[in-house]
Symmetry: C2
């Protein structure tokens, strides 16, 4: 190929890149609203600015923190639902912003679930308390001040983890802001903080990297977005990072790193298409799917960029660990990268002065953490996703599938199948009656329920809701939902033996599986007056199917309006009589959705027409008089 | 505001940036296809890979270069259209790519329009010739080899200018590619080239910066996109530049810059939102709108970025000149920036050795050329624009308006009003019957015609086509088309006295202007059988208007399908009888678009119904027998 052609080719390739990336299966196959699927509703008794969600004491129950109140919502038996008012105080100063906010910002289960640890803003004087639960009832809660533990403001997001008797937090240390970092509280090993960060930071997630063979080596990973200090005119204003600390860390000595992490390391969490210089720098949300071996645990991270686009990048804990264990240190010279310790130690206070000095001076890695598989995003989209959750589902023959749940700006949730080549959006779930802002999502993998909270309601979504896909084997298989399979008579919750083909949605697996094959819907017959207007409607269940009308061997394109394929008849005539069928065609599978027969009325009709024309003329004349 | 709230505010602001940018008036107000407007068609007699367009000898005529052929298309009198086969040669080697391409790549009018200068690829052996035109007939054309003047390949785009007796070109110098740069040929001052560029380049446009008070100072500006040599991981792979050379330049001496430009300067042409780090680095097309004073002449540049988005940035010639005259030189030390000459000189061959050495060593400016008005793009869009043209239109009271024409990937053209705050897309013009790729556009400002070429056709678009906006003053004013105005009886070509309000489209200017005020369309009456299906249709002319149905004081939302507002009646009943009006509301102006009256048929109807039911039953029984 000549040089100039090569340039041209390159230019065309460049112009086509994003098109190919974005629009590949970016539409959910089906859309399910409250009328199509079983969503369970629970009111939050008022309007709340945030929603802290925690698994409840029973199946189908959750704790929900809100404005002044903690709820126990039971979706199976609403009479067991409860609420308690917490941290109620009078407003000390109405004029300062945030001083009248009394909202729950943290709810953790502690002591094997027998108690709750609850924190609230308490009018910019954060407090926490341990509440004993007795027979499912809220007990009393003795309040302690919690500055540096819980957020000062209702809108301050600060992920936290309660592991054993230790609490890891990321809230602001001071009411004026600043002092963001991973901190540990309570427990035997005492409080450890992070040294002040040089730039604005916001923590998005906290996770344990473990359990490892040697528990001493267990780490906590913090996922954070921070303002970039890169002065290059094209550098993104934000960068995302993962930060590690050792669980076993007990800080340094009086002179170096006293009560500060000695094991803190940080690296860039990269999401983008490197060779095309297309980047997603702003981390929005993160979720971890733990595997049997900690190295295989996966981090699903949702990013955005300056254009408002979204990308999901997937990383393994192993890849993150690899960077922390082997990368050179940034700005390090000579032997530092080899010698500076990266292992967790039993007693960090006993480390030699020189080791501690290195731990203080070198915390940033040269290498970046890059996503799995070709180092490219798993999904790129123009949709305004805000939260991400991930679930592992066991399908036919014990195959494991991962399903992601991505919340949208309008109150909907996308159920997305993770597969090798490209994402498949199984469904758009619309649990709320109106457009709303989703504040939080909680996945209960053991019972396959998803809880979604708006400011006024919490919805329970049954992930095993399989009936909505249809009543035929082919429809069930085409859905490609790992939660569902065909049991010979209906589309039902998959337990390992049902018929499904998650990888390809190939209907041939249905052969001989009962209630499969060509389905013919009943034909509706209409008599239509000559010259009258008439319309035919056909519901479009799958957005991946092509729908069209067939009449006397002629194919008529749909007029698509609100998931309906319409056929408008402006002027009925004898030629337009006959059978109309609406055919859906999806990946080789064809299906007649509805059938109509239209007839023009005979002589009697014509009489009626002329009569009605006469009436019309009469009326017109009356109006003119 | 507290620090943490400030961060949150910043984040939200960041997330909302692009939304606000993109979707502001990004829909054309109206859409005009061949059935709504007057487009004139001319076949290209076959399929062509490129289209060179040049103003013809008469109004409504153009020259069109294509595959082996030069056409003269006359849109007023097609019998005056002509074509001539040019550069016809046999294929020397079918196997090498490009060797069998015989396409016209350049057409210029020379010698006051009495001759044409035509070039073609001639099977990778480019040739040009001067063709004398006699009485509108194509004369003979004596061919010369033109390597380094005309492109080798049909897909190689290389803008050129013929000014006086001098030809400025930007084609590849070698058949293998490379050697791209501004070159001058013919004329008294002789051939001057550019030194080899260090990176891939593609010229997008060439323009004269002048005429200046002192013609010696006239310059040629080249607009170019090139591969960036910035190694920063976030630097865009492309950058766009403007390059200047002096018209008077005659090159250097034997030892320095012999037959090379001594006046070449180059600078970055920036398009983007600096503070948000949102950049458009890849220049796609450029057009210049000359003003009375050369400094006020405007450059309209169309850019894209890695996401496939588009932006239009506007620059003044004055701003470009400002950078070339005053910016420091890149990588210069000490006094170079002050001393290195930037003026055009009468005889560059006579310049001192030291001056020439500086002219060779310092050609790149430190400062960038930034767009007019807040340094931000005039338009940001997800539409796949490919070409840009600009026209100046004189409106009421001699106000000057600028209208841009942007071609789309599907064969449509957007007519866009340039205004202070944000662009207003007056119309989407769809001249072609099918979706097609637009190869080129030519604007004829003197007669207000736009020529648009696909591979098989050339369309003439009358920019004065004002009837399509409607037959009422309000509709004409709402269109905000500077080419059109209300003359008291119809919407017509604006000549300066017509009623219009281009800035705001405020209909109050219509008061007392004849045929204004509330228009009531005739009411159509339909008799509909009880229980029958029926639908009402209302054409949606303006996408900026809100349409709805009104029935017995109730407002019914539209079902929107293909620019129609539908109302579907599933089951006719007496309650659904009565008047229906479809009301369009646009910026305070309300208008009833269509009116229907529906009646259920009376006794006679019921009789007919039962009769027809009887017929149905009869038919069904017949079928069953």
């Amino acid at each position: 190929m000549s040089y100039s052609k090569w340039i041209l080719c390159l230019i065309l390739h460049y112009l086509n890149t994003v098109k190919a990336l974005e629009f590949h299966h970016s539409h959910p196959r089906i859309t399910l609203s409250a009328k199509d699927a079983s969503f369970w509703r629970h009111s939050r008794n008022g309007s709340h600015t945030r929603a802290e969600l925690l698994q409840g004491p029973r199946v189908n129950s959750i704790y929900v923190g809100g404005h002044r109140k903690l709820f126990l919502m039971d979706f199976q038996n609403s009479s067991r639902s409860k609420e308690v008012t917490m941290f109620e105080n009078e407003c000390r100063n109405h004029k300062l912003p945030g001083t009248c906010e009394y909202d729950i910002t943290m709810v953790h289960a502690v002591k094997g679930g027998s108690s709750l640890f609850v924190c609230g803003t308490n009018g910019i004087q954060p407090v926490c308390c341990y509440m004993t639960l007795s027979k499912g009832d809220f007990g009393p809660c003795s309040v302690e001040l919690a500055e540096g533990i819980a957020p000062f403001y209702v809108k301050e997001k600060a992920p936290s983890l309660y592991i054993g008797d230790e609490l890891y937090t990321t809230a602001n240390l001071y009411v004026q802001g600043d002092g963001v970092g991973i901190r540990r509280h309570y427990g035997k090993r005492g409080r450890i903080s992070s040294s002040a960060n040089k730039t604005e930071q916001r923590f998005v997630g906290l996770a344990v990297s473990g359990p490892r063979a040697d528990p001493l080596q267990d780490r906590i990973y913090g996922f954070v977005v921070e303002r970039s200090m890169d002065q290059h005119p094209e550098a993104d204003p934000w960068i995302s990072r993962v930060i590690q600390v050792c669980k076993a860390d007990s800080g340094g000595t009086k002179s170096i790193l006293e009560r500060l992490w000695t094991s803190r390391l940080s690296t860039r969490l990269y999401c983008g298409i490197t060779e095309k210089k297309l980047h997603f720098s702003y981390l929005l949300d993160v979720t971890v799917l733990h595997a049997d071996s900690w190295r295989d645990s996966r981090v699903y991270a949702l990013f955005t960029n300056g254009w408002g686009m979204r990308a999901v990048c997937v990383y393994t804990m192993g890849a993150i660990d690899q960077v922390f264990m082997n990368s050179d240190f940034k700005n390090s010279v000579g032997s530092v990268s080899k010698n500076r310790s990266r292992m967790c130690v039993e007693n960090s206070k006993a480390l030699p002065r020189e080791v501690l000095r290195q731990m203080k001076d070198y915390q940033e890695m040269e290498d970046w953490v890059r996503p799995l598989k070709d180092h490219a995003p798993f999904l790129v989209s123009h949709r305004h996703y805000r939260h991400i959750r991930a679930d592992k589902v066991t399908g036919r023959g014990l195959t494991q599938h991962t399903v992601l749940f991505l919340s949208l700006g309008n109150g909907a949730v996308h159920k997305v199948l993770e597969q090798a080549d490209h994402p498949f959006i199984i469904a758009e779930l619309r649990p709320f009656r109106n457009k709303t802002h989703i504040q939080n999502m909680l996945l209960q993998p053991s019972v396959k329920k998803l809880y979604v909270s708006s400011s006024t309601e919490v919805m329970e979504l049954d992930l095993y809701d399989c009936q909505s896909y249809g009543h035929w084997c082919e429809e069930c298989v085409k859905a490609r939902d790992p939660y569902c399979g065909w049991d010979g008579t209906k589309c039902t919750a998959a337990s390992g033996n049902e018929i499904q083909d998650i990888e390809h949605g190939n209907c041939t697996v249905c052969e001989g599986a009962g209630k499969n094959g060509k389905y013919t819907p009943p034909r509706e017959v209409y008599s239509v007056s000559p010259s009258a207007k008439f319309f035919l409607q056909c519901p479009m269940l799958s957005s991946h199917a092509l729908y069209s009308w067939h009449h006397k061997g002629r194919l008529i394109e749909c007029l698509i309006v609100e998931s309906q394929c319409l056929l408008l008849i402006e002027n009925m005539s004898t030629e337009l009589q006959g059978n109309y069928s609406c055919v859906a065609s999806e990946g080789g599978y064809e299906r007649t959705q509805v059938q109509y027969e239209l007839r023009t009325e005979g002589k009697a009709r014509r009489l009626a027409s002329s009569l009605s024309t006469f009436v019309c003329l009469l009326v017109t004349q009356t109006l003119l008089i």
